[in-house]
Amino acid sequence: EDQVTQSPEALRLQEGESSSLNCSYTVSGLRGLFWYRQDPGKGPEFLFTLYSAGEEKEKERLKATLTKKESFLHITAPKPEDSATYLCAVQAPPNSNSGYALNFGKGTSLLVTP
């Protein structure tokens, strides 16, 4: 069964203190790995898609990387406005029931304090 595990569950950083979030996955035939940001009471907001090992994507203070077994979301010099839950999801080959559905991890709740 496909699984996505995110760690840590929660992370508290001081403003400017860089760190990384981890997403480990087991899926046969990965078709894409996606990172989302979710603010309280809102839907997930798409950040990045990674398709193959070695790929990297950057957006402002965020950088996502992908290996054959895991992905990292690096946060450089975070600010309080980066506080949110970060979700990782993988897309496996489509099947008759779920098509192109995503399999989500439970997320990492990030709090950045001033």
């Binding site: 078709r31 997930p44 489509p94 192109y100 997320g107």
Partner: protein, 114 residues
């Protein structure tokens, strides 16, 4: 640009009452549409998936149903709500006919069953 709308934002319903949640997408044609439920500590669970009008796939058996009466309209329904139906319901869309594409989420409906 594409936008997705969900309503209502919050809903409080008694056990045994019916349910209708609506989702519409603007700015794209023939999207793939999805209904997810997000429960605390359990991540996002796919409920239904649709690749076109009248085409609905169910991921898990339950007392919920979905319909797609128009290309960009997706409706989640129930005839009789259970306490276990409480949660945060999210609608999402992705580019139709393609894998490898991210899903884009609405802002969700918080459903509380009393």
């Amino acid at each position: 640009s594409q936008t997705i709308h969900q309503w209502p934002a919050t809903l409080v319903q008694p056990v045994g009452s019916p349910l209708s949640l609506e989702c519409t997408v603007e700015g794209t044609s023939n999207p793939n549409l999805y209904w997810y439920r997000q429960a605390a500590g359990r991540g996002l669970q796919l409920l239904f998936y649709s690749v076109g009008i009248g085409q609905i796939s169910s991921e898990v058996p339950q007392n919920l149903s979905a319909s797609r009466p128009q290309d960009r309209q997706f409706i989640l329904s129930s005839k009789k709500l259970l306490l276990s139906d409480s949660g945060f319901y999210l609608c999402a869309w992705s580019v139709g006919g393609q894998g490898f594409q991210p899903q884009h989420f609405g802002d969700g409906t918080r459903l509380s069953i009393l």
